[in-house]
Assembly symmetry: C3
Homo-oligomer: 322 residues x 3
Amino acid sequence: MGAPPPARRMALHGRDVISIRDLSRDEIEEILAAGRRMIPYAEGAKVTHPLEDKIVAMAFFEPSTRTRLSFESAVQRLGGRCITIADMSATSMRKGESLSDTIRMLSSYADAIVLRHPNEGSARLAARVSERPILNAGDGAGQHPTQTLLDLATMHEAFGTLSGLKVVLLGDLKYGRTVHSLAYALALFGAELVLTAPPSLALPEELQAPLEHLGARVTREADVSRAVADADVLYVTRIQKERFPDETEYRKVAGSYRIDANVLAHAKSRLIVMHPLPRAGEIAPEVDATPHAAYFRQAFLAVPVRMALLAAVLGEPRRGGR
Amino acid sequence: MGAPPPARRMALHGRDVISIRDLSRDEIEEILAAGRRMIPYAEGAKVTHPLEDKIVAMAFFEPSTRTRLSFESAVQRLGGRCITIADMSATSMRKGESLSDTIRMLSSYADAIVLRHPNEGSARLAARVSERPILNAGDGAGQHPTQTLLDLATMHEAFGTLSGLKVVLLGDLKYGRTVHSLAYALALFGAELVLTAPPSLALPEELQAPLEHLGARVTREADVSRAVADADVLYVTRIQKERFPDETEYRKVAGSYRIDANVLAHAKSRLIVMHPLPRAGEIAPEVDATPHAAYFRQAFLAVPVRMALLAAVLGEPRRGGR
Amino acid sequence: MGAPPPARRMALHGRDVISIRDLSRDEIEEILAAGRRMIPYAEGAKVTHPLEDKIVAMAFFEPSTRTRLSFESAVQRLGGRCITIADMSATSMRKGESLSDTIRMLSSYADAIVLRHPNEGSARLAARVSERPILNAGDGAGQHPTQTLLDLATMHEAFGTLSGLKVVLLGDLKYGRTVHSLAYALALFGAELVLTAPPSLALPEELQAPLEHLGARVTREADVSRAVADADVLYVTRIQKERFPDETEYRKVAGSYRIDANVLAHAKSRLIVMHPLPRAGEIAPEVDATPHAAYFRQAFLAVPVRMALLAAVLGEPRRGGR
């Protein structure tokens, strides 16, 4: 492990970032370290322009305000500029253009493309036809690698390490792509995983085996309070209505895992509660004021982490310092 | 009054601007003076970058193209950058996120937030949770302070003063928030007010008393031509369908106060006609070519006035001159 | 002809660009030459900022992602900034504002306006009320001059000239505005035209006569393979459902002119296939990998050509070089 040698710093330059699995453990650590250094720049306290005169296309085939705005903020904090499709579903797709043609168009207009798409596999397909790097910002039930990176950054900031952390993954472990990528990455870094989900939303067996193959200890615990008791991290996911095949099943589950002061009463004092946001009621507002609440910090860390990734993929170091 | 002492120049730095009532008479005069100095910069004839490397979020929970674009122009004329939600109603709110959570997110991504929201009180609520300044760009039947500032700027430019002006407020004086804030500010500056409205849209009694308390002379005059006869300013408001509880009432009133050459035949030659725009027929196009028409100038002044406010709240003077 | 004298370089400064017919042959050649010089800047390999501190409004009264994003890319590659209405139909028009008032507003907020509108003649009307240059980005069945310019640029790049080229115009020659402007410009430059369209979508007689008046040879050929046999350029148009008065007629025609390897089997090796994109099936994907496919290059050339036009209309040469 250790600090990555300087010679490896530009290893991501010009590359697509489709899945967290495309990144080595070294590369992830490199991005996390670069993300930490970006914090004062993300806050606006310092200024750096490695993306000056670069254009990044935001291609959102489904709206995701949070992801789009944090990427746009990241690009602009780095001195770059954006061209944006906030919701492609409303526009050109009416005319029936293929994803390939749209991506080819965007790669003529921009130096990189941030892609959000409702269909799994779209980002990989886009990378095949694009002449410019594709940054996957979520493709349906598929991957969302920058979410995983900022989740890891949040835990690392709180504990100074990822290795040995006991992390409870709570809620929708079946449809939630966020949690699949995160579980993989945590296993890679030697965290221990506790899976807490209703039976209908349990982590699929075929996803659990590879985690254990990476050497992770993985247990299942249906009771939230018990799961939380000696955990370092409680990662709460949104129960996403749109991923459910059936409304009745959705209603049965929604609200069954609400985190409030009661649930946290017996937690360790240093436990952090995380959530990819937006939340719809999974975490009671009373938790916000407790030292456990890490989800707003997590939201902020989206900016420096995405800045670090953009700078690695697109940045020109000679324009960096200021 | 007199010119504000230089030492007060940064009194607005870092502050929220929720209501015109949050600003003292001195502060309003300071912004108007700064707005006058901003005119050549708003026209693009001169360049200043006090917002360089600043990001301003445009959070429009309902669309308002005019307000959004004039703010975006103002930010960019000052060297700043924007991240924009043009119509939040179409996006994240589907997922049921609270206003508080959305504002917390935006205050992680930007240095200030321009907020437009359909519900009264939203801007005040936003200011409570935001770590960054909130600029209220209209919250339902509530406040819209920058509209009031640019209205005052338009009158001040035409007459060199606000004190002693006779201002006719015409149209919807019940639901129009624009006119409530404006009436307050005009009273503060010693203008005389003439209220011309159909009975169903009269200014609520509880809003008239405070005007008189400020020392303003306030009269009511149902006949437009008579009201206009010796006025300096005719301020026409849009009859906003969406504010009416009932369509029948709307239809009865709409069009009953249309301004044309006839109505202005006996006006003073220096009378100016104002309108917050967009207009839907309240002012006949034949008025556009007369010297009375001030509404396009008023629309332009949105940019320098908003620039002045943004520079006061966010600007870094050391980056100002160029 | 020959190279335009330097003194003519700024002839477009401050002008509206409504129709390709507003430009002389000299001016078109000037823009094409400037467009060629812009290519490395459009690719991001070189940097130039003639639009620094300029704001360009994108006023799209109907969505057109491709046109909007290529203009936004062009503005930003030149150092300028944008304020954008991506789809006006969804916003202010609800409040019933006239086009004139909207344009007057935008000319207060920006240094130039790129206008897309569903109604023919809108751009000319806008130019009458705007204090800032209007660049027509398509007005219904009317004009779309920058599309014509980039089409010419694509042919010129492939053949080094426009004069004497044999160009097949295929598909909807009745409703397709792209093809009307292009036919005019090709005739102006001495190209030969072959019209290939189903009878219901033939080029209107009143449009053909002026082409011949310009000295162009114009023939009609119903069979695509025969038309293509000795052509230099095959220009394929989209059959636009929304232009048809009647759905039955649309269905009858759609798909009747699909270009695939078979159609191109007997073409000259240097034949280029063009399409304004998006395509909906008029060109088979198998064509993409052949040397005939010029439509992706054509899409890219939108950026340098629009850059050249924007720089000519708005640019300040003293800020150019870098």
